[in-house]
């Protein structure tokens, strides 16, 4: 399950990578802005894409806490668990 989420997330993130950053650079610990060099204005778009892909709604706190790929996966997992409760 986690691997599936990771693959889906990687696909979402890949769209927003600058031209000089390779998709292979996306790892669990990658920081979205400081390491992957994603334009900070695109973080809100990634959030929206994640909401659509995983059928969840993210709150402002979740967005603030989503610094790395790992953070994102943890938040997605938590939200999905909440929504199926």
């Amino acid at each position: 399950m986690d691997q599936q989420h990771l693959d889906r997330l990687k696909k979402i993130i890949a769209v927003y990578l600058p031209e000089d950053v390779d998709q292979g650079a996306i790892t669990l610990t990658s920081d979205l802005t400081s390491e992957l060099n994603i334009n900070s204005s695109h973080l809100v778009d990634i959030i929206l894409d994640v909401e659509d892909a995983f059928d969840i709604t993210l709150e402002n706190d979740d967005m603030d806490n989503m610094k790395t790929v790992e953070d994102a996966l943890r938040i997605i997992k938590k939200k999905r668990a909440e929504s199926t409760e």
């Binding site: 204005s41 809100v44 778009d45």
Partner: protein, 423 residues
């Protein structure tokens, strides 16, 4: 001592052709870009036709990355980027590396940008769902979204701005960019304009009942500049762009020079002396043309041809009369005059830039494009000038100097003088 200004790159996204070659062929053959719109019919428009550039996904992919296409819902951005990118590449200027191009700027106008994006945003906001707008709503709906996008694409470090002045927007952008170079404030400028189309842009004009309503079954016949049967302007859309630079800059890089911008003038009729929000003050129009000639250092008899504003309304004969008085010429000495609106409609904020591209192509290739649907010529125009001055077939002649004018709501006027480049 002012710098001479020349054109070294052009691009166009017009209802009857995208790219210089397609546009040249379409104008030479009088191919129409006016089409029936099912959408306008469904929405109960009186005028259910319009001019829209034919841009498919494949073309969009050539000008926008996958990321740039995320949430892209602004035809004005698409048309403008296509025309401007073509103009830039045509001129052969390399984009900036790390350091901005401090001496290259952009003046790229529009009337309104991102109408469909704005509509999409309004629905979300009204649903209480503002957080779902994403990052693209602002950059596609701010008027300067187009110049901002282009500024980033090419790395321009000089003035990067968007002008807006109704139907003279494109012509005004060219004149303002040229002034900047002339005065030594920039070496090169990307200038032009873009205009969206469709129901939300054209609706207001339909409501004013100034668009033709009897040609929904025969769209190609609807736009009839200078004709006795002119029934109002056909709405259009698209973009035109130029890379202009100082002669010194062009020569230093051995650039191909399409033409020289010999001069120009912009004024306003003040909505006085018969001028209003929607009607021109003829004194101001004549003054604008005369001042442009003076600025270019030419007189009326040196003008080989005119590309008019000529929208296909009752004002066409007034425009011809104004040209005649401003140039101080008799009907038989009047230059050839044409309007491209017969085949592309009135592209609003993009009219001046698209038509200027056509005008400069005439100088470059040696031709005066035919007037489409001008017959039967309006009787008042027949009284003013010889019928032969309104060519209904493309003439393969070598024009030296062409005057191009645009007039618009707000009593705004602009006239630019393009000249074949002679060292």
């Amino acid at each position: 001592m002012r710098n001479r200004v020349v054109i070294t790159g052009m691009g166009v996204c017009a209802p009857n052709g995208v790219g210089l070659k397609a546009f040249d062929e379409a104008l030479a053959e009088g191919q129409s870009g006016i089409r029936f719109s099912e959408e306008l019919e469904k929405l109960n428009f009186g005028c259910q036709i319009g001019g829209t550039p034919q841009v498919n996904q494949e073309l969009t992919d050539r000008y926008f990355s996958q990321l740039e296409q995320k949430g892209l819902n602004s035809t004005g951005m698409i048309y403008g980027v296509i025309a401007a990118t073509d103009a830039w590449e045509d001129a052969g200027l390399p984009p900036a590396n790390d350091e901005p191009l401090w001496n290259t700027g952009i003046i790229f106008g529009t009337g309104i940008l991102g109408v469909d994006k704005f509509r999409e945003s309004i629905y979300r906001v009204d649903e209480g769902n503002v957080r779902r707008l994403g990052s693209t709503a602002v950059i596609q709906t701010m008027a300067s979204g187009i110049s901002a996008f282009l500024g980033g694409r090419f790395g321009c470090g000089n003035q990067v701005t968007t002008n807006s002045s109704a139907c003279i927007t494109g012509t005004e952008a060219i004149i303002m960019g040229a002034e900047r170079i002339r005065n030594g404030l920039a070496d090169s400028m990307l200038v032009g304009s873009t205009s969206e189309g469709g129901p939300y842009v054209w609706g207001g004009f339909d409501a004013m009942r100034i668009l033709p309503r009897n040609y929904n079954d025969s769209p190609e016949q609807a736009s009839r500049p200078m004709s006795a049967e002119a029934a109002g302007f056909v709405p259009g859309s698209g973009a035109g762009a130029f890379l202009i630079e100082s002669l010194e800059s062009a020569l230093s890089r051995n650039a191909v020079i399409y033409a020289e911008i010999a001069g120009g003038h912009i004024n306003n009729g003040g909505q006085r002396e018969g001028g209003s929000m929607t009607a021109p003050n003829s004194n101001a129009v004549q003054r604008c043309i005369r001042m442009a000639l003076e600025d270019a250092g030419v007189n009326g008899s040196q003008i080989s041809a005119i590309n008019g504003h000529l929208t296909a309304t009752a004002k066409d004969s007034t425009e011809i009369s104004n040209w005649k008085q401003a140039l101080e010429l008799e009907g038989g000495d009047f230059p050839l005059i044409n309007s491209f609106k017969g085949s592309i409609g009135h592209c609003l904020a993009a009219a001046g830039s698209i038509e200027s591209v056509g005008t400069v192509l005439q100088l470059h290739h040696g031709r005066i494009y035919k007037n489409v649907n001008a017959e039967p010529l309006h009787p008042e125009i027949k009284e003013l000038i010889d019928t032969t001055k309104v060519p209904v077939e493309t003439r393969y002649v070598q024009p030296e100097i062409i005057a191009k004018a645009s007039f618009g709501f707000g009593d705004v006027n602009a006239c630019v003088i393009f000249k074949k480049y002679n060292p």
